[in-house]
C-alpha cells in the first residue's frame, strides 16, 4: 500500500509530503499529516462531525488554504481532526466533512503549535501512481 504522508525536516520549519491516488485523498492525507504533527493521531476519537468549505484562487493555493483553515480550527476552537472525507473538490473550492474531537489536555499530548501553512516551496504534482504534494509549515 502506498504511504499516505511523510514529514519533511527543515532547519527552521517542518514540511509535509502527502500522497493520494486521487486529489481528494491527497487533501485528506495532508490534513492527517498536519494533525500528526500536533498530536498522536491515534489519540483522537471521532466524536465531532462537521462540514467545512474552503475557497481559493487555484488548486495549489487551495491546499494551503485548506491547511490554514484546519490550523485555525485547532488554534481558535481547539478541535483535533482524525479523518476528513473530501466530498467535493474543484479547481478552487472544496467541501469536506471532518471527524475529530475537542482537545482534552488529560488525553492529548500536544507536540507543538503550528502557526501557518506557507506558499514556500509549495508543490503539487501528478505522477504515475497518483498525486503528491509538499507544503512547508511555520511552527
Amino acid at each position: 500500500m502506498q504511504k499516505s504522508f511523510e514529514i519533511l525536516d527543515h532547519t527552521a520549519d517542518i514540511g509535509i509530503i502527502a500522497y493520494g491516488t486521487d486529489i481528494k485523498q491527497l487533501f485528506s492525507n495532508a490534513a492527517l499529516a498536519l494533525f500528526s504533527l500536533i498530536t498522536e493521531l491515534e489519540s483522537i476519537n471521532e466524536k465531532l462531525h462537521f462540514k467545512l468549505q474552503v475557497r481559493s484562487q487555484d488548486r495549489d493555493s487551495l491546499l494551503v488554504e485548506w491547511l490554514n483553515e484546519l490550523i485555525y480550527l485547532f488554534d481558535a476552537k481547539h478541535v483535533l481532526i482524525r479523518r476528513c472525507d473530501i466530498e467535493d473538490l474543484g479547481y478552487d473550492e472544496l467541501k469536506a466533512t471532518c471527524h475529530g474531537e475537542a482537545f482534552d489536555p488529560r488525553k492529548h499530548e500536544i507536540k507543538r503549535g503550528i502557526k501557518a501553512a506557507t506558499y514556500h516551496m509549495l508543490k503539487l504534482d501528478r505522477n504515475d501512481g497518483g498525486y503528491r504534494a509538499q507544503v512547508i509549515l511555520d511552527i
Binding site: I7, D9, D13, F103, R112, K115, Y119, H120, M121, D138
Partner: protein, 485 residues
C-alpha cells in the same frame, strides 16, 4: 538540498556581497554579515539564495541584507532586512513573518544572584503559575470585542491603563508600545477569534521567560545608564509575540497579496515573497493590520512583565519598586516600520522590513527615549534557551549601512527533527539543571526541539555585528531559571 554555489565577494572580515548580476531580476546586491566560518553552513542551507530572492522586491534600496544569525525561512530568510521606498516600493508580509512583533523585553532588578539562587525553584514555579503559557493556554485577562479593538489600537498602553505597568515602561518600549496606523477594521473575524483568548499568554515553541544573572559587562558606562551595574545582578527576559492573532493576520494578508502580485504585475522568484505596493489598498491594509498585531504583542509583553513583577514581589516580600524592577527596554524582532533614512545623501521615508532583526538606532536619534539619548537604543539579543543573552546598543554605522538594523538572536542550526533525534526533552532538562539552570515547561516534547545544540552560538553572532559596527555589545547574562510554554 544542494550546497549554494553562488559568488560571495569578501568586502572585509565580516561582510560579504552577493553581486547583483548573480540572478537576473535582482534590483540590488545582497549583503551578508558573517564570519568566514559561518559561511559554509549558510551555503549548505541555501540561505544566500533567499537573500538574492529578496533583492527582487520592487523599490528595494541599498542591499538585501542578512544578519549573521540568518537561517532558512519561507520566502525571506530569518535574519533578513529589506528597506523599500514608500513611493514606489512594496510591503511584503513574508518580510515580517507570521509572528508579528515577536520580540523581547528586559527587566532589571536590584537583586543579586546570592539572594535569588536559593529560591529559584520557588520563583520559577510562581512565574509558571502566574504567567499563562503553553499551547491552548488562555489568558488571565478576559477581553470582549470592544476591548480587543482598544487593545489593538493602543498596544502596551492598553495594559498600562488597566494597571498592568506604568508610564515609565512605555518610555522604554520601541514605539512606546504602540505602532501608529492600527485599524481593527482590517482584521478578520478569524484573527479576532484566534487572538482574543490568547491575549496575555507567553505561548510555546521558542518563546520563553528567563531569570538571568549578569555575567559580563563590556561597557560599564553604557551598562550603568541601562541600569545594569554589577556582575551577579538579576535580570528577567521576556520573549514572546502576537500569538495566533499575528499568525492569522499574516495568513489573511498573504492570501490578499497572492492576488495582488498579478494585479500589479510583480515578478517574484518565490510565492511566499508575495507583496503589494505600499501605496496600494492591499499594502495599506496590510500595514494597518500588521500594526494591530504589533500592538497586540506589546500589550502581551506589558501584561507578562506585570505578572513577572507580581511573582517576584510575592517571593521576595517587597514591592516591585523596592526590588528595583525597572524595564530596561522592549524591542520588536519581526516588524515592518516606516522610518526616515539617508539614501544616496537624501533623507527619504522607507519601509524597513525586519524579519528576525532588531532596530539599532544610535545615540541622539529622535526616536529613542530621552534616558538613552546619550548611549543609543538598547538592542536585546536572546540566545537559545539556556545559553546566554546579550545587551547591546545601536550605532551610527547601522544607520548608514543596515537601515538601522542588527541581529536578533542565535539562529537555528539543526532542524527540529535532527534536534529531536540527537537529544530527548528529558535530557535537555537534565543538561540545563547540571549547569545550574532551573526549568519549568508545559511540554517536554518540544523542549528537545529548542535545545542549545539546535542553535548557533549567539556569542559568535553578536561578535560579528559588534566587529562590523552595526551594534555595540554592552553586557552578557546567563540564565538561572527558564519558563517555557
Amino acid at each position: 538540498m544542494a550546497r549554494w554555489q553562488g559568488q560571495l565577494i569578501k568586502l572585509d572580515e565580516y561582510r560579504w556581497r552577493i553581486p547583483q548580476d548573480y540572478k537576473k531580476g535582482m534590483r540590488v546586491p545582497g549583503l551578508i554579515y558573517a564570519s568566514e566560518h559561518m559561511l559554509e553552513s549558510m551555503r549548505e542551507e541555501q540561505t544566500p539564495e533567499q537573500v538574492a530572492n529578496v533583492a527582487f522586491l520592487p523599490g528595494i534600496l541599498g542591499y538585501s541584507l542578512a544578519m549573521p544569525d540568518i537561517h532558512w525561512g519561507y520566502g525571506f530568510p530569518i535574519g533578513g532586512v529589506a528597506a523599500t521606498n514608500i513611493k514606489d516600493g512594496v510591503v511584503s508580509p513574508g518580510g515580517v513573518g507570521y509572528d508579528i512583533n515577536c520580540g523581547v523585553r528586559l527587566l532589571r532588578t536590584d537583586l543579586g544572584e546570592a539572594e535569588v539562587r536559593p529560591r529559584i525553584r520557588e520563583l520559577v514555579d510562581e512565574l509558571f503559575l502566574n504567567v499563562p503559557s503553553g499551547l491552548g493556554s488562555e489568558g488571565k485577562i478576559r477581553v470582549n470585542q470592544k476591548e480587543m479593538e482598544r487593545l489593538l489600537v493602543e498596544g502596551a498602553r492598553w495594559a498600562v491603563k488597566r494597571g498592568l505597568g506604568s508610564e515609565e515602561d512605555l518610555d522604554v518600549t520601541e514605539e512606546r508600545g504602540c505602532l501608529a496606523g492600527a485599524d481593527p477594521g482590517k482584521i478578520t473575524d478569524k484573527a479576532t477569534k484566534r487572538g482574543t483568548p490568547q491575549a496575555g499568554t507567553l505561548g510555546s515553541g521558542n518563546h520563553f521567560l528567563e531569570v538571568q544573572v549578569v555575567k559580563e559587562i563590556f561597557d560599564p558606562h553604557v551598562a550603568g545608564i541601562l541600569g545594569i551595574t554589577e556582575i551577579g545582578q538579576v535580570l528577567v527576559l521576556i520573549h514572546t509575540g502576537s500569538r495566533g492573532f499575528g499568525h492569522q493576520v499574516c495568513t489573511d494578508h498573504l492570501r490578499v497579496m497572492e492576488q495582488a502580485i498579478s494585479k500589479y504585475g510583480i515578478n517574484l522568484p518565490d510565492r511566499q515573497l508575495a507583496c503589494a505596493p505600499i501605496e496600494s489598498p492591499e499594502g495599506r491594509d496590510y500595514l494597518a493590520a500588521m500594526a494591530c498585531a504589533a500592538n497586540y504583542a506589546w500589550a502581551n509583553r506589558q501584561c507578562i512583565a506585570h505578572w513577572v513583577r507580581e511573582s517576584f514581589s510575592r517571593i521576595f516580600g517587597e514591592s516591585p519598586d523596592r526590588l528595583g524592577m525597572r524595564q530596561v527596554y522592549d524591542v520588536a524582532h519581526n516588524i515592518a516600520k516606516i522610518e526616515e533614512h539617508t539614501v544616496d545623501g537624501r533623507n527619504i521615508r522607507v519601509c524597513v522590513h525586519r524579519k528576525g532583526a532588531t532596530r539599532s538606532f544610535p545615540a541622539g536619534h529622535k526616536d529613542i527615549p530621552e534616558c538613552y539619548k546619550e548611549v543609543g537604543q538598547p538592542v536585546l539579543v536572546p540566545g537559545d534557551m539556556g545559553r546566554r543573552s546579550f545587551i547591546a546598543v545601536g550605532t551610527q554605522k547601522a544607520m548608514s549601512e543596515s537601515f538601522g538594523s542588527t541581529c536578533h538572536g542565535a539562529g537555528r542550526m539543526l532542524s527540529r527533527g535532527a534536534a529531536k533525534r540527537s537529544i530527548k526533552g528529558a535530557d535537555v532538562i537534565r543538561q540545563l539543571e547540571d549547569r545550574g539552570i532551573t526549568v519549568k515547561t508545559g511540554s517536554v516534547f518540544d523542549l528537545a526541539e529548542e535545545a542549545s545544540q539546535a542553535y548557533k552560538d549567539v556569542t559568535e553572532v553578536v561578535d560579528v555585528v559588534n566587529q562590523a559596527g552595526i551594534s555595540r555589545k554592552v553586557a552578557m547574562a546567563v540564565p538561572m531559571g527558564v519558563i517555557k510554554g
